[in-house]
C-alpha cells in the first residue's frame, strides 16, 4: 500500500496516479507529443472524483487510490492456448491483441479484414493515413475532461486504430482484445482506441477486456468513435476482467448525418468498473442504439453513466440497460438524455431494468431527461425488482423445480441484451457465460 503524503487536496488525491503521467513520452509523432504534453499540463489541476460529486455518488474510488499505480514495464507471459481460447471465430483473421496494454504482433492477425479497412496499432496507422488519424485522435476525448482521460492521454503512445475508408464494408467483425496477466502488483494499463467509420461505410468492432488470472491491476481505457455520413458502426464492448481488477472506461461517439451507432456494453468482470459513454447525435437522420448489461455477483460494483446528446433535429435514440445483481453486488445506471433547443422531432426512448437476486444486492437507476426542444418524443422507464411471481409459477406449473425456474428466468432476463450482439459465436459464448453465472450450465437454449 502506498503512503500518501498528507498535503493539499488535489495533489493528494492524484498522487496514487502520478507515476502514470510521467516518464519519457512514447508518442510516435510530434503532434501526438503535443497531445501528451497538454494532458500532462492538465494533470495537476485534476483530482480523483469523490462520492461528494453527483456523478460519483454511488461509486467510491478510495480503494483505487490506496495503491500507487505504475505503468507496465514489460507484459506478463501468456500461454498461446489460453489466448486462442479467447478468440472469436468470425474474427480470427481480423484481430489486434494487446497483452498488458502492449501490442502483440504475434497474437494479432489482420489478414482477413478486407479492402478499405485499416486495423493497426497507432504507429502503423499513422503511416497509412496520418492526416485522417491526426484530425480525430484526442478530439472527442481530450486530455482535460477528467483525471482518467488526462492520465490516458498523458501516456498516449500505443493505440488500436480502426480506420474504415469511404464506402468500405467490413467483411468480418474486428476484435480488439486487451488481455491482462497476473503481472507486477499495482501496475496499470491505459488502452486507447480510435474507431473511424468513413462516409457510407459499415463495420463491427468488438472491444474486449479480459484477464488471464485474477486480474489484479487497473485498466483505464478511452475509446473515440467518429461515424461519418450514412455510415454504420456496431460496437460491442465487453468488460470481463478478473475479480481483483479496477476498470475505468470512457467511450465518446459522434454521429454525422444519417449515421448509425449500435452499441452493446456488457460488464461482468472486475471488482469495480465504471463506464462513461457519451453519444453525440450531431446531424439529422442520426440513429443511436445504446444497450447495456451488468451481470454482477459477490462484492462486484459496476457503474454505467451514459449521455445521449441530441444536438440536432430528426435524430433517434434507443436505449435498454439491464442489471442482474446477486450476492452483495451493486449496479449503478445513470442515463442522461439531452435534447437541445434546436433538436426538434427527436425520437428517444430509454428503458432500464434491474433484477435483484439477493437481499444484499443493490441497484441505483437514474434516468435524466433534459429537454429544451418542444416537438419531441422522449419515453423512459426504470424498474428494479425481483423475478416475476407469475412467471415463476408458469414454469413451476410445467414441472420445473423453483430453483431451476429462477435460474431460467434470470438467464432469459439477461439474454435479451446479449441477443442484440450481431456476432453469432459471440452470442453463444455470452449465453454460456450467463448460464455459468446462473448455474444453468447444462441447458442448451438453442435458437
Amino acid at each position: 500500500m502506498a503512503v500518501v503524503p498528507d498535503i493539499a487536496g488535489g495533489e493528494r488525491a492524484s498522487q496514487p496516479f502520478a507515476a502514470l503521467g510521467e516518464g519519457p513520452s512514447r508518442a510516435p509523432a510530434a503532434w501526438v507529443s503535443a497531445l501528451v504534453s497538454r494532458a500532462r499540463d492538465a494533470l495537476p489541476r485534476l483530482s480523483l472524483p469523490t462520492t461528494g460529486e453527483e456523478a460519483w455518488r454511488f461509486t467510491d474510488l478510495s480503494g483505487l487510490a490506496r495503491e500507487s499505480w505504475r505503468p507496465v514495464v514489460s507484459p506478463g507471459a501468456v500461454d498461446a492456448a489460453a489466448v486462442d481460447a479467447l478468440l472469436i471465430d468470425e474474427a480470427r483473421a481480423s484481430r489486434l491483441v494487446f497483452i498488458d496494454g502492449v501490442y502483440s504482433p504475434g497474437f494479432s492477425d489482420t489478414r482477413g479484414i478486407g479492402d478499405g479497412l485499416g486495423v493497426a496499432p497507432l504507429a502503423q496507422a499513422l503511416r497509412a493515413d496520418e492526416s485522417g488519424v491526426r484530425a480525430q485522435l484526442g478530439r472527442l476525448v481530450g486530455g482535460d475532461v477528467d483525471l482518467f482521460s488526462a492520465l490516458n492521454t498523458a501516456a498516449l503512445g500505443e493505440a488500436a486504430v480502426v480506420n474504415v475508408a469511404r464506402g468500405a464494408r467490413g467483411r468480418a467483425p474486428i476484435h480488439l482484445l486487451f488481455i491482462g496477466t497476473d503481472r507486477a502488483p499495482a501496475s496499470a494499463v491505459q488502452p486507447r482506441l480510435l474507431l473511424l467509420a468513413g462516409e457510407h461505410s459499415a463495420v463491427t468492432v468488438i472491444e474486449e477486456y479480459v484477464s488471464l488470472g485474477e486480474g489484479r491491476g487497473f485498466t483505464n481505457a478511452v475509446t473515440e468513435a467518429v461515424i461519418g455520413e450514412n455510415a454504420e458502426l456496431s460496437h460491442i464492448r465487453l468488460q470481463g476482467e478478473g475479480a481483483a481488477a479496477w476498470h475505468v472506461g470512457r467511450v465518446a461517439v459522434e454521429l454525422a448525418r444519417d449515421a448509425r451507432y449500435a452499441g452493446v456494453c456488457i460488464a461482468s468482470g472486475a471488482r469495480l468498473s465504471r463506464l462513461d459513454l457519451a453519444v453525440r447525435l450531431g446531424a439529422p437522420g442520426a440513429r443511436a442504439t445504446v444497450d447495456g448489461l451488468a451481470l454482477l455477483d459477490g462484492r462486484q460494483h459496476a457503474d454505467s453513466h451514459t449521455l445521449l446528446d441530441h444536438a440536432s433535429a430528426d435524430a433517434t435514440s434507443r436505449q435498454l440497460y439491464k442489471s442482474v445483481c446477486d450476492g452483495a453486488s451493486h449496479s449503478v445506471f445513470d442515463g442522461r438524455i439531452v435534447v437541445r433547443r434546436d433538436a426538434q422531432r427527436t425520437d428517444s426512448a430509454q428503458q432500464s431494468r434491474g433484477l435483484l437476486l439477493s437481499a444484499r444486492a443493490q441497484i441505483n437507476a437514474k434516468p435524466q431527461l433534459e429537454i429544451f426542444a418542444d416537438d419531441v418524443k422522449a419515453a423512459h422507464g426504470a424498474t428494479v425488482g425481483q423475478l416475476d411471481a407469475d412467471e415463476l409459477f408458469y414454469l413451476q406449473s410445467r414441472g420445473m423445480p423453483a430453483a431451476q425456474a429462477r435460474r431460467l428466468l434470470t438467464y432469459a432476463f439477461a439474454a435479451e441484451v446479449v441477443e442484440r450482439v450481431p456476432v453469432r459465436s459471440l452470442v453463444q459464448r455470452l449465453r454460456a457465460r450467463i448460464l455459468e453465472r446462473t448455474g444453468l450450465a447444462t441447458v442448451e437454449t438453442g435458437r
Binding site: L395, R398, G399, M400, P401, Q404, L408, Y411, A412, A415, V443, E444, T445, G446, R447
Partner: protein
C-alpha cells in the same frame, strides 16, 4: 429461450423425477415434432421464444402441446376456449380428447357450453364464490345454456342448492 429448449428442460426434469431416461436434443426433437402434429402446430413455433409474440390461439395450442409432452396426472385448463375461433377450438379440443385417459384427470374451467360440443366431460360442476353449487353430467351444461346461471346462482338457485 426457445420453446423447444424450454420444453426439453421441463421434460427432462419430469423424466428424472419419475426415474425415466432423459432425452438428448435430437431425441427430444423427434418427440416434440410428433406431438406438435396433434395440435397442428407449425414446427417453426418450436424455435420461437416461449410465448413471445404468440397470439391467443397459439398460446392455447402451445399449452396443449406442453400437456402432451409433460403428461401431467392432473391438468387444470383455465378458459382454454377463450379467444379461440372455431377452427382453433376444434384443434385444441382434439388435443385434449387425445390426451385424456384413465390415468389422468383434466379439470376444465369455462363460462360457455360451446367447448363441450367438442369435449364431452365426465362431470360438470357449477362453481360460484369458491363453492361447488351443483354437479351433474353433460346435460347440466346444456340446461345451464338454456336457463342461464341465475338458475343456480340466483337467490332461488342458492336455496335450491342448499
Amino acid at each position: 429461450m426457445t420453446n423447444s429448449a424450454f420444453l426439453r428442460l421441463a421434460y427432462n426434469t419430469r423424466a428424472a423425477a419419475r426415474g425415466h431416461e432423459e432425452l438428448d436434443p435430437l431425441e427430444f426433437d423427434d418427440l416434440v415434432r410428433e406431438k406438435a402434429k396433434l395440435v397442428e402446430m407449425d414446427p417453426a413455433f418450436l424455435e420461437r421464444s416461449v410465448n413471445d409474440g404468440f397470439s391467443g390461439g397459439e398460446k392455447k395450442r402451445n399449452e396443449i402441446l406442453q400437456m402432451a409432452i409433460l403428461e401431467p396426472k392432473l391438468a387444470i385448463l383455465d378458459e382454454t376456449d377463450s379467444g379461440l375461433d372455431i377452427d382453433a377450438l376444434r384443434v385444441v379440443a382434439g388435443g385434449v380428447n387425445a390426451l385424456s385417459g384413465p390415468d389422468n384427470a383434466i379439470v376444465m374451467v369455462t363460462h360457455y357450453q360451446r367447448l363441450l360440443d367438442y369435449i364431452v366431460p365426465d362431470y360438470v360442476h357449477v362453481m360460484a364464490d369458491g363453492r361447488i353449487l351443483k354437479t351433474g353430467d353433460r346435460s347440466l351444461a346444456l340446461e345451464l345454456e338454456s336457463r342461464g346461471y341465475d338458475w343456480v346462482t340466483g337467490p332461488a338457485g342458492a336455496r335450491r342448492a342448499a
